[in-house]
Symmetry: D2
Subunit: 97 residues, 4 copies
C-alpha cells in the first residue's frame, strides 16, 4: 500500500467494513433468488445495496477531492488539470450508473 496512491487512508477500514457488509447482502440476495423468494422482497434488497454502494462511492469521492485532487492542485501544473478531468469523469459515471 502506497500512501501517495490513494486518498482514503483515513476511511480505509470503514470502507472495507461497508464493502464486506455489501458483499454479504449480495450473497443474501442470491440465496433469496435460489430459494424462489418473492420478487418484491428481492427488489427491496437490491435497492438497499444500490444505496449502500452509492454511500461508499460518495465517501471515496470526498476523500479523493480532499487528498488526491488537493495535492495535485497544490503541486500545480498540468497534473492538476488531468486530475480534475479524471475526477469529473468518475463523478459522471457514478451519476449515470
Amino acid at each position: 500500500m502506497n500512501a501517495t496512491q490513494h486518498g482514503y487512508a483515513d476511511d480505509q477500514k470503514k470502507i472495507i467494513a461497508r464493502l464486506n457488509r455489501i458483499e454479504g447482502q449480495v450473497r443474501g440476495i442470491r440465496q433469496m433468488t435460489e430459494n424462489g423468494e418473492y420478487c418484491i422482497d428481492i427488489l427491496t434488497q437490491i435497492s438497499a445495496v444500490n444505496s449502500a454502494l452509492k454511500s461508499v462511492a460518495l465517501l471515496l469521492v470526498d476523500d479523493h477531492l480532499n487528498h488526491c485532487v488537493k495535492e495535485a492542485i497544490e503541486e500545480g501544473g498540468e497534473v492538476s488539470e488531468a486530475k480534475i478531468a479524471e475526477a469529473s469523469a468518475a463523478i459522471a459515471r457514478l451519476v449515470k450508473s
Copy 2:
C-alpha cells in the same frame, strides 16, 4: 420453491448467475480497497456494479409485472389493487436508490 410465489422462474438461472458475478465484483472492490488501489479505479468498479444491479432489478420488475401482477389482475378483486400498489412502491424505491 413455490411456483406461485415468484414470477422470475424462467429467468432464475440467469439472475443467479448475474448475482454471482456481482458478488465477485464486490469482493474484488473490497480487495482493491485493502490493497490501497487508486480511488478512481474503485469508483469505476462501483459504478459498474450499480449498473449491473439495476439491470437485474429491471429484469425482476418485468418478470413481476408479467406474472405476479398479471395473475393478480386476472383473478381480480382487491388483491390486484394491492399487488399494483406494492409493485409501484418497489419501483419507486428502485428509482430513488
Copy 3:
C-alpha cells in the same frame, strides 16, 4: 382528450400543477445562470428538479399500471403482453435516466 388513452385522469390536475411548478423552477435556474450565481446553488436547484420530476414520473407509472396495464390484462390476449413490455421499457428508461 380521450378517456381510453391515458390512465392519469384522476391525477391530471395534480400532475399539471406539479409540472407548472417544475417549469418555473427550471426558468429560475436559467435566470440564476444568467445572473452568474454560485455553481453550488444552481446544482442544488437542479437536484431538486430531478427529484420533483421523478416523483411525477412515479405517479404516472402507478396510474399507468392501475389503468392502462390493468385494463389490457383484463381484456387479455397479446395486447396485454405488449402493454407490459412497453411499461417495463419505460420504467427501465426512468431508472437509467
Copy 4:
C-alpha cells in the same frame, strides 16, 4: 455578474441554451398532460429531461472543480477544506436526486 463568484463563465452561454431547451421540454410535457396524451410518451419525455438536467449538472460540477475549488486550494487554508466539503455535499445531493 461577478467573475469571482462562479466557475462556469466559459460555459455560461452553453448552459443557458441548454436550460432554455429543458424549460421548453418541461412546457411540452405539461401540454402533453393537458392534452391527455399517453402516459408512456410522457414518461419517455420526463426521462429525457432528467438526463439533460444531469448533463448540465455534470458540466457545472466540472467547472466548479476547475475554478472555484482549484482557486480555493491554491489560496490554501481553511477555505479550501470548506470548499471541498461543499462540493462533496452538492455531488451527493446530485447522485441521490
